[in-house]
Symmetry: C2
């Protein structure tokens, strides 16, 4: 398994709102800095609660995720994956409803041949004047 | 040199507004996701322009930085450093003027025995209702 495979698993899991597939790429001890609301999420259980709430909130819509400007450093034991993610909300009828972008940092650790994300940091930059988040670049 | 030494060098460099010391801990190819304004900074030159503008903006004040909740993973070649940073603006007379907090992710690479930061990601979470950044936890 190569670390970049995490991207495809993530995209498919989010598209299908598949919580089990989503969970499969994260370490039990994952430590997350997320774009929204909370300062951090410690451990997989807390992080999956967020994912469950996210998937539920989407109702009959779903999120289609694409990754741009991907950069990967792989030392064999640890890997760094950097990207810009685009989340597009799509209706049941397949219509694009809205989108936003996030800066993504993943650090993954190889255990028994499998890469697991031990740290995720997502954010969007903040405008200094308005103190509001800039949702697209 | 241990990766945690990057923290002390950073703190001293910011306290003294010492651009050369600040530059010394970053890789020439450093890729930064910063809390403010811009989606990314690519390369040390772009990143030092930000630092120069920051130090200049402080005028006769200075920023005192502390690190909390530090977590480190070190594979020998790559290291992950996670922390909550607190920036306190201090006047020339030593009075605390204001502070804010940031979530920090550093990934450093060991080259010839020296750790250099190849990726920095800082952010603060955003309130979903107001779309405004939450500056302290």
């Amino acid at each position: 398994m190569e670390p970049e495979e995490l991207i495809q698993i993530y995209k498919t899991a989010v598209l299908k709102k598949d919580l089990e597939a989503y969970a499969s790429i994260f370490d039990d001890e994952v430590y997350v800095f997320d774009t929204w609301q909370q300062w951090n999420y410690v451990g997989l259980a807390a992080w999956l609660e967020m994912a469950k709430a996210w998937f539920t909130l989407l109702g009959t819509d779903h999120d289609s995720v694409t990754f741009e400007d991907i950069k990967i450093h792989n030392s064999g034991e640890l890997a760094l994956i950097i990207a810009i993610m685009k989340f597009t909300a799509v209706s049941e009828e397949g219509e694009d409803l809205r989108f936003l972008q996030n800066r993504l940092t993943w650090v993954a650790r190889k255990m028994d041949g499998t890469w697991k994300i031990i740290h995720q940091h997502t954010s969007s930059p903040v405008d200094f004047e308005t103190m509001q988040v800039i949702l697209t670049r």
